[in-house]
């Protein structure tokens, strides 16, 4: 894949434990890393698609991410809206390699 060289390092896997999420700076951008219970790791845009509100202030419980502003809920693994449906988190390609988390961010 030509993406290979576009991967940027976000953090170490140990920085975000299973059941946690956190925001990291990658260059000029920010990325939300979600480490779901069960071990899946995802990278998302850190802002709720509803309004300009940081998702990291919400809750991550049982693979459901809840935004603290209006309680919009998303599946933490697929990023799809649970309530309301028909919306989803902006997802970035990510991988785990050498105990680190890497993402590909869109060109800004």
């Amino acid at each position: 894949m030509s993406d290979q060289e576009n991967y940027q390092k976000v953090c170490e896997v140990d920085d975000v434990w299973e059941g946690e999420m956190d925001v990291f700076d990658v260059g000029e951008s920010e990325v939300l890393i979600v480490h779901s219970p069960g071990g899946e790791i995802r990278a998302y845009s850190p802002i709720c698609p509803h309004q300009d509100h940081p998702l990291v202030e919400g809750e991550l419980e049982n693979c459901v991410l809840t935004c603290s502003a209006h309680l919009w809920q998303f599946d933490a693994i697929s990023g799809k809206g649970i309530n309301p449906t028909g919306t989803s988190l902006t997802s970035y390609p990510s991988k785990v390699e050498d105990d680190c988390i890497w993402v590909v961010l869109p060109e800004s």
Partner: protein, 341 residues
């Protein structure tokens, strides 16, 4: 309502929109008055919904340290539209949202105090009258500028829009609150105030056919009374709205006589007051506890298909919406509320 203030031009980047706004008006007020919609709720710097990025120009923030703005937002040159005013021509970045376009654009009017009625020991109803008609939808609120009180305060109307220019508000007396101290201690019939209204999209939607459930606490009663009056005009066949009212003590419960004035509203069947602190020995026989706990026990399984209006003290609104959305899985678009802090 002096219009001799300096005017500035504000340009919304990306949207290709621009509007003129007086130096004394908030960016949010200016945007809404020009017919554009952007997300907002509390209009007082608390909720953070109306955040924008300042690209060029100067603004002044009226509320330093507002809860709606984080340190990281400030670093990114973000401001809150509801509590910032332009000091020069500006370029800002914010995503317009058609849902928030005002059905009636907010206007400032002068009004005088016409009547006062005591609903409980500390919740009073005040009626003001303006020359222009009172234009608003059931459930909306106004920003009141009161003599001797710094900055406007938001209060919901308790009546319906009308051509007579009548504006009804319910205000709770709070110790040391300057707004309530003006209204309770200093105002006399004929006292003049300025009303900037209407605001909020948490208003009654006459197109919705879902049954209504109104949940209020404290002075959150006002928009519910407005909504119930509004609903009375709609022909919701067989779908009686229900009003849950959370009161701290038995003395805070709104009388049935007052609510009996709402047309087609059967207080015995449609009004459920819940008291959280019952003094030992009190003869209160109605439900007790917190409103959200009562809802947890009493809402029917078909509660999914209702519209919910919620207003009251922030912790109550928060607990109720958490229950409805997180536990009852009610679609978020069925909930109508403004987040105040």
């Amino acid at each position: 309502m002096k219009e001799n203030q300096k005017q500035h031009q504000v340009f919304i980047e990306g949207a290709g929109l621009s509007f003129t706004i007086s130096e004394n008006d908030s960016i949010l007020g200016g945007i809404l008055r020009s017919g554009v919609g952007i997300p907002y709720e509390c209009n007082a710097g608390g909720c953070g919904s109306c955040k924008y990025t300042l690209i060029e120009g100067d603004v002044v923030d009226d509320f330093e340290g507002s809860a709606g703005l984080r340190a990281s937002d400030k670093r990114k040159n973000k401001h809150l539209a509801c509590v910032s005013r332009p000091q020069s021509d500006c370029v800002i970045e914010i995503k317009p949202d058609a849902e928030y376009v005002a059905k009636t654009r907010p206007k400032r009017v002068n009004a005088t105090l016409q009547s006062v009625e005591k609903l409980t020991h500390d919740l009073w109803e005040f009626y003001f009258e303006s020359d222009p008609p009172a234009r608003f939808l059931p459930g909306q609120y106004a920003k009141l500028s009161l003599p001797g009180v710094a900055g406007p305060r938001s209060y919901s109307m308790c009546n319906n829009g009308n051509n007579d220019g009548r504006w009804g508000f319910q205000i709770k007396r709070t110790e040391g609150g300057s707004a309530s101290s003006f209204l309770f201690d200093n105002a006399v019939l004929g006292s003049r105030i300025t009303i900037d209204a209407p605001y909020s999209i948490a208003h009654l939607n006459e197109q919705s056919e879902r049954p209504l459930i109104c949940i209020a606490g404290g002075s959150g009663l006002a928009p519910m009374v407005s909504i119930l009056h509004g609903a009375a005009k709609m022909a919701l066949e067989g779908k009686r709205p229900i009003l849950y009212y959370g009161a701290r003590t038995v003395d805070d419960v709104i009388s049935k006589e007052y609510l009996d004035r709402i047309p087609h509203f059967d207080v015995e069947k449609q009004y459920i007051p819940i008291v959280s602190e019952v003094e030992p020995g009190n003869s209160w026989s109605g439900p007790t506890g917190m409103v959200h706990e009562y809802l947890a026990e009493s809402l029917d399984d078909d509660c999914q298909d209702c519209d919910y209006f919620i207003a009251g003290p922030p912790p109550m609104v928060d607990a109720v919406r958490r229950h409805l959305i997180l536990e009852r899985k009610i679609p978020v678009e069925h909930l109508h509320y403004d987040r105040f802090y």
